[in-house]
């Protein structure tokens, strides 16, 4: 069992848990992930490490409430326990170049943050582009703002914060002004796909952290397979980071949608069960 030491709410649907996991805290690296199973009947869901502290023996992850599992998670409080957490899994993020754009969209900002922090610690020039549909969904702004960044850009689809539009607007400007050697992107598939396209136009290498559906997370089941440069790769052991220019984005988007119907059934059932208990 893994005890929740601290719960932070970033917005209506975005939460962060700090969990006691001393062994994992010693081994976590930026870009790696963990898998959670809330209870005996739970599914296994991957979340990227947002932060970790080997001295104090905890790890943190951020999640957005989307389906039943994240809804259940959001109801847990400090002192409660999560049945199983497995990790660290996947390869740590490695970014080449001295000047890097880190692009995070939506809940992907939770993954972008530790990567940006790591790159700052490595002494690189770091530009961060934060994107969200609207201001309320733009998480971790203060944390990003506290990093020693070259520049921090914010875009929202509705213009409620920062620049109105999408992350590729500031990304294109960074490319055009020769400000960056490379880029890292994490977020919804269209965001990563168009970031990769923008970088390709300017011949800037870009790495994306992919988030396909997973079951085992250790390369055994093949559920998380993605097509990269015409090869079948497993996000859990070969990734989750890949050369974004080579990723088959449509394939990833289709696979992510494999269980939309079942996810809806599960959520509805859960809501009915919750209503019964009230």
């Amino acid at each position: 069992m893994y005890k929740i030491l601290k719960k932070t709410q970033f917005s209506e649907n975005v939460f962060e848990f700090r969990v006691h996991a001393p062994r994992m805290a010693k081994k976590a690296h930026a870009g790696q992930f963990l898998m959670v199973r809330i209870n005996e009947t739970g599914e296994r869901v991957p979340f990227t490490f947002a932060n970790w502290n080997p001295e104090e023996g905890w790890i943190e992850f951020i999640f957005m409430v989307i389906g039943k599992t994240t809804e259940c998670l959001s109801k847990l409080e400090e002192g409660d326990e999560i049945q199983d957490i497995t990790g660290p899994l996947g390869k740590p993020t490695e970014i080449e170049g001295d000047s890097v754009a880190v692009i995070g969209g939506g809940v992907g900002l939770a993954i972008a943050y530790p990567v940006a922090r790591m790159l700052c610690e490595q002494g690189k020039k770091v530009y961060v582009i934060m994107g969200a549909r609207t201001k309320d969904l733009l998480i971790l702004f203060e944390q990003f703002a506290a990093l020693p960044l070259e520049e921090l850009f914010v875009t929202t689809d509705d213009g409620s914060m920062g620049e109105k539009g999408v992350v590729t607007l500031p990304l294109a400007r960074l490319c055009e002004t020769d400000s960056i050697d490379s880029a890292f992107a994490v977020g919804p598939v269209p965001m990563m796909k168009f970031s990769a396209r923008t970088c390709r136009e300017h011949k800037i290498p870009i790495v994306a952290s992919l988030n396909p559906i997973m079951v085992d997370g250790t390369g055994m089941c093949g559920c998380c397979r993605v097509e990269v440069g015409g090869e079948t790769m497993f996000a859990c052991v070969d990734g989750p980071d890949f050369n974004a220019d080579l990723v088959d984005w449509d394939d990833l988007a289709h696979r992510q949608a494999s269980y939309r119907a079942e996810e809806a059934v599960s959520k509805k059932q859960y809501e009915e069960d919750c209503a019964c208990q009230k």
């Binding site: 062994r23 009947t41 739970g42 093949g222 397979r225 079948t232 949608a257 079942e262 059934v265």
Partner: protein, 466 residues
């Protein structure tokens, strides 16, 4: 008292298995075979010729003293029979169910030359299942103060753990999943190997003093050097086979196309057949097509039936005769309604309007000259393309090496990424042993267990200097 000489019941037919009717059992996950009764077991034990030179034992990869335990069954000494098996094999309930006896003990039984061999597997599983009834309490040697780490709680890992614990070693098994058993839990379906049995076997090891650390991913959470620093004297790597192979044909990543590992893991480990009580979903196909001819393909096909498929087709590029699956598994699958489509190979998967797989294009094959495996090589027949409808496709065409082996310890690998060992399971690293599928490539439960047992003996010899 003068000893009464045993006279076998020559000519008696093999006691039939107690199998549930195929049409009933194929719709749920209850056990297919409910096992022998005591009367069945005694009748079957009386068929044994009690050969002076028992060939059956030669066929057993772990050297179970088969005539001896059968003799104890005849004497109705159930506890004695069980402890005779357990001296050589700690997991009789598992092996009795999943060993390919027809190629091993039963395949060598002299009775099989003219009729049916003694049902050794049935007797073994029946005794294993009696463990609670006979109150069998395994004995361990006093603690010797040496610690051994085992990575992987599949058949090889737990066989090694049990042997070492009995020899007085302090054993810890590290498992990446939240529960133990490895392929016994995630791979082999409930209807062939009930999970309660796997759980009981693991509990038996815990009673021997074996520690199990779950959610512990070797190579990521710790590595060999750290284990040695923590005081472990030796490490046994039993991480199992790894990444599944794919067909590499167009449309293989369409939703609805599974690899068998995923299909079976969702069902067996995550209990997707009880969705939405359990959270993990699985797609229930009406028209399911499975590619492959091994035991995993049979398990996937039979699972699809139990998930409500109207039609399950097993497509294989050779013929039924060349299928590597156990004959009994092929028989069970066909009996339950799985249709076998021989001599065809998939060309591509096509999506329907909902984006899920809806059609498979196949090509007819014919058999040519034998290949390296000794089986006749399938050759495509030009112009023989045809299509069949399909809303779930499952590929079961084998696995590649597990990448966690090299993350965990600095050991020499061969060109397939499998660990190189000597016949005792020693790797190039003097404190590290390895066995099971990570050494042999995908093989059987009993071979993996045999490797675990061999490595345990070698570890004992090395550490204790005996």
């Amino acid at each position: 008292m003068p000893e009464v000489k045993y006279r076998p019941n020559i000519g008696a037919p093999r006691t039939p298995a107690n199998e549930e009717p195929a049409e009933e059992r194929a719709r749920d996950f209850r056990p297919v075979d409910t096992g022998y009764t005591k009367a069945d077991a005694i009748a079957e034990a009386n068929r044994c010729l009690d050969c002076k030179k028992p060939l059956c034992m030669e066929g057993c990869p772990v050297g179970v003293h088969i005539p001896q335990f059968i003799e104890k069954i005849r004497e109705e000494d159930w506890a004695g029979a069980l402890s005779t098996i357990k001296a050589d094999n700690l997991l009789p309930s598992v092996c009795g169910r999943v060993c390919p006896q027809e190629n091993q003990c039963e395949g060598k039984c002299i009775l099989g030359k003219k009729g049916d061999p003694v049902a050794i597997g049935q007797l073994e599983r029946m005794l294993g299942d009696m463990a609670d009834e006979v109150g069998e309490a395994p004995e361990c040697k006093p603690a010797n103060g040496h610690k051994v780490a085992i990575v992987g709680s599949g058949p090889s890992g737990i066989a090694c753990a049990g042997e070492l614990a009995r020899e007085g070693f302090d054993v810890t098994v590290f498992e990446a999943f939240f529960t133990g058993g490895g392929v016994l839990t995630y791979g082999i379906p409930e209807f062939r190997l009930p999970k309660a049995i796997v759980k009981r076997e693991i509990e038996g090891l815990e009673q021997l003093g074996v520690h199990f650390e779950y959610n512990s991913v070797a190579g990521r959470l710790f590595d060999a050097e750290e284990l040695f620093e923590e005081g472990f004297d030796a490490l046994y790597l039993a991480v199992g086979a790894g990444l599944p192979r794919f067909l590499h044909v167009k449309g293989e990543n369409l939703p609805g196309v599974y690899c068998a590992n995923e299909y079976l893991t969702r069902t067996n480990l995550m209990k997707a057949y009880e969705f939405p009580v359990y959270d993990t979903p699985i797609r229930h196909g009406k028209n399911v097509v499975v590619f492959g001819g091994g035991n995993v393909a049979m398990d996937a096909a039979r699972t699809a039936l139990r998930l409500g498929a109207e039609k399950v087709t097993l497509a294989y590029r050779r013929t039924e005769a060349e299928m590597p699956a156990r004959r009994a598994e092929i028989h069970h699958a066909k009996e339950e309604g799985v249709e076998i489509l021989e001599l065809c190979n998939p060309l591509r998967f096509l999506p329907g309007p909902d984006g899920f797989v809806s059609t498979i294009e196949l090509q007819r094959m014919e058999l040519g000259e034998p290949d390296a495996s000794g089986r006749r090589r399938p050759i495509p027949v030009e112009g023989s393309e045809f299509a069949i409808p399909c809303d779930v496709a499952i590929t079961a065409i084998g696995t590649r090496a597990n990448p966690f082996a090299k993350l965990c310890a600095d050991v020499e690998l061969n060109r397939w990424g499998l660990i190189e060992t000597d016949e005792e399971g020693r790797t190039s690293n003097p404190k590290v042993w390895a066995g099971g599928d990570i050494v042999t490539g995908a093989a059987t439960v009993i071979l993996a267990m045999g490797a675990g047992k061999t490595a345990a003996a070698s570890i004992k010899k090395t550490i204790l200097g005996e």
